[in-house]
Symmetry: C2
Subunit: 607 residues, 2 copies
């Protein structure tokens, strides 16, 4: 109940397509989605293999609540070894693709091997076909979706695919589904491309059965009411995530020009307010908001660009509406590269969408390249003649296009910031952790965020823990270890349900527990679901240790550890990671080397 | 083309259901069905494993011509390690099940492992489900078919299943499909039962595509014309296989009372004539004939029993029509056990059908038990009080029922003749080869048949070679090795196409080649298709050698080698196997120990 109790395996080398019963022992230990897929990954591959090799395993995972009437039930996760980080990658996404995968009858889809030719996967319930994608190779995400629907003459297909970036191995390529949603981080799209898999098109008609339908209806109704009245939800619906721009500017935690500054003069032009303002020519960036399947928040934005203003690339398809700026995109294409042109930022966002790339990693990589350019390390000869100064809006869009198409200097930007900075002899300029670039929060201003960045299993990430409130309350490293650990386990639990992180502004452990317990067979109390989250976190850590990572990878760049914040509320502060990290290891029941103790592993049933 | 290019794997231990592309290299080397399945068996299991263990693999295989418009295109083969013989088992069957399996999109179905509970497999095109069969366990073949169709509310399902005999491990249990057709020999049903698999229900809607449709239509039309005008075909249509009873009686090759005699006084009562005669009470055994899917011969018989006459078991369902006597059943239940009661033979045949057992092996085993009973070795205490004399029609039906239900002495009869004779200290009375019982031909009268029996890879068998004409012409062992070898390869080729052996009365290599070549991609000349047959034969031999069999298993019972035929045209003769076998090994390119030489293996691409 709530699980479909069946997984789908596709070996792209042999063309074998297999289903098998879901391992219910594992489902009871990991719930679903992120946790359960981590367990399947652990059992099905050697963490040491090259992330881009056929031996890597790519898992699409739904949770027990995916596709149910719970709010935000459109989530699925992609779990694999990430090429950007050489650590476990765990990216989730909304839209409706996940719900359809589940309706087709599958809790998880495991992909192994590598197809000899480009292919796409076509799934309609029990019908699973590996079909040629030669005509799709080289096409954009949007072309791919249209082509498959047309070829299959089936408008009901939900499609997750990669763009050219994923085909060509840009290390932060993402997997885009339902046109505007993406499993964005850690390069899961590059793994998909390395397997010669262009797309997965799925239609499901089987529905989902919950354990206690009456109770589930009642509980989810109450939870939707809670969410409806929640101020955090209201802000997300009205302004989207980009409202954060103003908050970070005021707080002085807005990473600017590769973290050289913590505030950005043009913040208001590319933030939520900038999206809503009517320009003198009458243009407004924002058209409307948009919800994922089952969601009662609708944080997504639909925007368009000002074609009168915008002359950089005359591609008329971009005049039409597409996914508008979320905060992380706005941060990475705005303050981080010093650009205050909302049309350029929006257009670069469209390009990320079209070519299938993570805007955070692209923007932060470009910022590092800009710093190196201003230092004179990178020159116009490297950049195909483009002036790569901070603030050059045209450079932003040109480089987005070049990287997406894997052309010229785009191939260098496609390495990601860590490899790029190493290539040019300045590894200290890489702003990220474990090879993955930072989101839009400076950890000198938000200390717990710094600890979360340093310890996140998929590399620098703002979505795998939540210390926001304690960080705003206290800008020292004191008392951050416990809330960091606790929230990591809490988020790992949420990520394992099939629901979104965002309702957590209204729902605590109790609210998630009630929905899980009504939907799933078995007895799910609060302690148990949090333990599932902790188990997942520790298994991810085990994966990374087995892959060769160590405590030395739980660190931050010297710019955050040694260079005092140049302004804002944390002016003069550095990130106190050296204080927080040992406390965190202790909280986790890990050794001072960051290794889970036997006692911890025993307690979680991980031995 | 002609192949579906996809195989289905079901692992009953894990519940995994997988499809993968057909290995086309192997298809080009083995055509399909018997040959191709032998290759898959060879590549997917250790020949040394216990045939009844989960490690045995059970393959249902169609050929490229299965389901096409060629005549007799309803064939499929079951390939596995046989528990009766501990050698490779290869049983094929008609009906429509094979065509539907192919229409569902699969060339082969590979079953491995063992289900924890009784299950049946439900296949409708891409939908493949392993469903509980607890309610089916203990049910007859006929009940099983009705139950599944009712449960699935789908009258189009074609069903292959086992009866209680297969569930309980009767060593010669068969797999019955379409109620009256069976993959009959070597205990393939016992393997299915050992896997807790009661039935496979399949509906296919995908059709088959041939390489050259126009040519294929023309060729198959011509072949049907040839068949229509063939005297052998006419005899089969009119009289069925049981016309052979009279031929063997006249020739003196009709095994009687466990091969103690070679002619049987009551032969005419249980032969084709006996099926058509109107008794004084007005009853006629034969109702009509019946064809398998696509067949233009229709050798099958539908008969009923005389309820006035027949009082042994009062089960009214048997008053209705069911599968009538074929020659091998009539031989095994008539002369072999000395019974001349056509109703008893027909009823025992119904029981074989209902319980899923091979009538040849059952009858020959019963004959050995009767000989041991008349010798005083087996007593009424052993037989649950039943008089087991030759000629006891009631004993025949009672023991058929007991064996089918695995009750009392039926459990001993269920061992098969070899194990039964060994159990009672008289292994010399086992009339068969490699653990499998003889069909209705005495190899003192038909010398080439003796060589074929001795060398058949699945144990004593009349269907894997054809030396009938040379045997009728010359009753010595002279010149039998070459036609035996040649016909074995020819039959292995036919068994690999998806067509039936019986059109071979009208079709030679050329006629099969034309149909294969029109249906299949690639260039299929006569030499190539015969080489495929030879390759298959040698790979079967390799399997048996790897399983532990040796040249010592290529032998016949002393009664045929040492005791002169007591009558008929071969009176005074023994089977000259000692002369034929070395010639045969040489013809095959095998060592004097019956092992294929490196040269032979190289020539056939088997190294």
């Amino acid at each position: 109940m709530a699980w479909q109790r069946k997984i789908l395996r596709v070996d792209l080398s042999s063309g074998s397509v297999a289903t098998e019963p879901l391992n219910m022992d594992w489902a009871f230990q990991y719930i679903g989605e992120r946790g359960l897929a981590t367990k399947y990954l652990w059992e099905n591959m050697d963490p040491k293999v090259d992330a881009m090799s056929p031996e890597n395993v790519l898992i699409f995972a739904t949770g027990p609540l995916t596709g149910t009437m719970a709010s935000t039930s459109g989530r699925y996760a992609v779990i694999t070894k990430g090429p950007l980080t050489n650590a476990i990658a765990c990216s989730n996404s909304g839209g409706k693709f996940g719900a359809d995968l589940k309706y087709a009858g599958y809790d998880l889809l495991l992909l192994s091997g590598k197809s000899p030719q480009p292919v796409y996967l076509h799934i309609v319930d029990d019908q699973v076909e590996i079909l040629p994608a030669d005509e799709l190779w080289g096409r954009s995400v949007w072309e791919t979706e249209a082509w498959i629907r047309s070829q299959q003459q089936n408008p009901h297909l939900k499609i997750a695919c990669i763009g050219v970036a994923g085909e060509r191995g840009v290390y932060y390529s993402c997997i885009v589904n339902d046109l505007h949603r993406a499993a964005g981080r850690s390069g899961v799209g590059a793994v998909m491309g390395s397997k010669n898999l262009k797309a997965i098109a799925v239609q499901g008609t089987k529905g989902v059965t919950v354990a206690d339908p009456k109770k589930f209806m009642q509980v989810t109704y109450e939870m939707k009411k809670l969410l409806e009245n929640d101020p955090g939800r209201k802000g997300l619906t009205k302004l989207g995530t980009n409202a954060m721009m103003e908050t970070m500017q005021e707080f002085g935690g807005l990473p600017t020009r590769n973290f050289q500054q913590v505030q950005f003069d043009g913040y208001d032009k590319v933030g939520a307010r900038g999206m809503r303002v009517r320009k003198p020519n009458g243009h407004v960036n924002l058209i409307t908001n948009k919800a994922c399947f089952g969601c009662t928040i609708a944080c997504g934005r639909i925007a368009h660009i000002d074609k009168e203003h915008f002359t950089i690339v005359n591609r008329k398809e971009y005049w039409h509406a597409s996914g508008g700026l979320e905060y992380e995109t706005a941060y990475a294409f705005g303050p981080m590269v010093g650009v205050d042109d909302i049309d350029a930022c929006t257009f670069a966002g469209f390009l990320m969408n079209e070519h299938g790339m993570d805007p955070i990693s692209f923007g932060v990589t470009l910022a590092a390249a800009m710093e190196l350019y201003e230092m004179g390390v990178i020159t116009r000869e490297d950049t195909d003649g483009v002036e790569l100064n901070f603030g050059n809006a045209e450079a932003l869009t040109i480089m987005a296009e070049k990287t997406g198409k894997y052309e010229g200097f785009g191939q260098v930007l496609g390495l990601g910031s860590k490899r790029l900075c190493e290539k040019y002899g300045h590894p200290e300029l890489f702003m990220g952790v474990k090879g993955q670039e930072f989101a839009g929060y400076d950890s000198r201003a938000l200390q717990g965020m710094g600890l979360g960045y340093a310890t996140s299993n998929r590399g620098a990430c703002h979505l795998k823990h939540d210390t926001f409130e304690v960080d705003m309350d206290d800008q020292s490293g004191n008392g951050k270890a416990k809330p960091c650990k606790t929230s990591q386990d809490f988020v790992a639990m949420i990520d394992s349900t099939g629901l979104c992180l965002f309702p957590a502004s209204a729902w605590g452990t109790t609210e998630f527990q009630q929905q899980i317990d009504a939907a799933c067979e078995g007895d799910w109390n609060e302690q148990r679901i949090l333990e599932c989250g902790e188990r997942t976190w520790n298994l991810e850590r085990q994966f990374n240790l087995a892959a060769g990572l160590t405590a030395a990878d739980d660190t931050l760049p010297p710019r955050l550890l040694e260079v005092p914040a140049p302004g804002g509320t944390a002016k003069g502060k550095v990130c106190e990671l050296d204080k927080m990290l040992p406390e965190y290891y202790a909280e986790r029941g890990w050794t001072s080397e960051g290794v889970p103790t036997e006692h911890t592993l025993n307690r979680l049933g991980l031995t």
